[in-house]
Amino acid sequence: MSKFQKKKKEMPAVNTASLPDIVFMLLFFFMVTTVMRETDLKIKKPSLPKADQVKKLEKKSLVSYIYVGKSKDDTPGDKIQLNDRISNVEDVQNFIFSERRKRSEEEIPLLTTSIKADIKVNVGTITDIKQQLRNVNALKINYSTLKGSALDNVK
């Protein structure tokens, strides 16, 4: 009997020496891909509409964002956020100028304005913004949407 008991081997421990390496690799991956949000949203997070005819925005450095949505305290009307504060429609022009100043001359025609608007805002607000953009000749725009069927937007 004791003969068998002596033969019982101990389970070898799993070698964890390479564990830090694995974790570091993951860490670097996330460090490289992470994008910290540049602006805080002062309005309610817009729930974007869905569409299927979408294009990816290629050069993120050439995109300026305009957020449109409802205010956090539920006051009626649509609010426009430029950079990190709620602004008037008239400020859109200045916003585009300041965005242009940040870029070099040859990049200016490539600048795209991405409109991130909530599904509940009125088209009138969007039209006012577009009018302002036309005034300063910022003609490339992108209506930010999620991927999905556009028919789901309206029930």
């Binding site: 949000r37 005819q53 509940k120 009125n122 039209t127």
Partner: protein
């Protein structure tokens, strides 16, 4: 005197530190890809310029009112789901005869699969979709309508690409795509000022 060995630094907690950092980046990372419908706004017009006269049959009028209802060509009430088919029918009609199109330096549309109805559009290059919305229209509806109209062009381009090159529009070379975009099915969507 025996030299003492320098003690090794205990690296056992290295994994813990790395984990902590990893979790921090995992939480803060946002991997959202920005997608959307790209459009180009028209340039600001000189108010003195007289807009060119268009034949009514070459214009596909889409009206969206403040109750999110769609009226097509001024007389047909439509749902969003029906809009794409109607737009395709209009663009792909190609009803113009050689005599009609001579003035515009075009020849009749040989690739159109439409009904060749003389009361509808002459040629895809002449077919204009005019979208008029109300200030009170919801953005969701607006995007849906835009999406369906752009989708109509995408569908037509795909059909053409499949017939001519045997592959989808997306798989064509840039030059081939350019030809289709310019000469076969150019995207002409005009937006009128919204009604108050």
């Amino acid at each position: 005197m025996a030299r003492r060995n320098t003690p090794e630094i205990n690296a056992g907690s290295m994994a813990d530190i790395a984990f902590l950092l990893l979790i921090f980046f995992l939480v803060t990372t946002t991997m959202d890809v920005d997608t959307g419908i790209s459009r180009k706004l028209p340039e600001k017009q000189d108010p003195n310029i007289v807009p060119p006269v268009l034949k009514e049959k070459n214009v596909f009028e889409v009206n969206v009112n403040r109750n999110d209802e769609i009226l097509v060509e001024g007389d047909t009430y439509m749902k969003v789901s029906e809009l794409r088919a109607a737009a395709i029918k209009f663009i792909d009609n190609g009803g113009g005869t050689a005599a009609d199109l001579q003035k515009a330096d075009l020849s009749p549309c040989t690739w159109c699969g439409g009904d060749k109805d003389p009361a509808s559009s002459d040629h895809p290059k002449k077919a204009i979709i005019s979208l008029q919305s109300d200030r009170g229209t919801s953005y969701a509806m607006y995007i849906s309508v835009q999406n369906e109209l752009v989708g109509a062009y995408t569908d037509l381009r795909n059909i053409y690409a499949n017939k001519k090159f045997g592959k989808g529009f997306k798989d064509l070379s840039v030059a081939e795509q350019k030809i289709i975009k310019k000469d076969i099915y150019p995207q002409i969507i005009s937006e009128a000022e919204p009604t108050k």
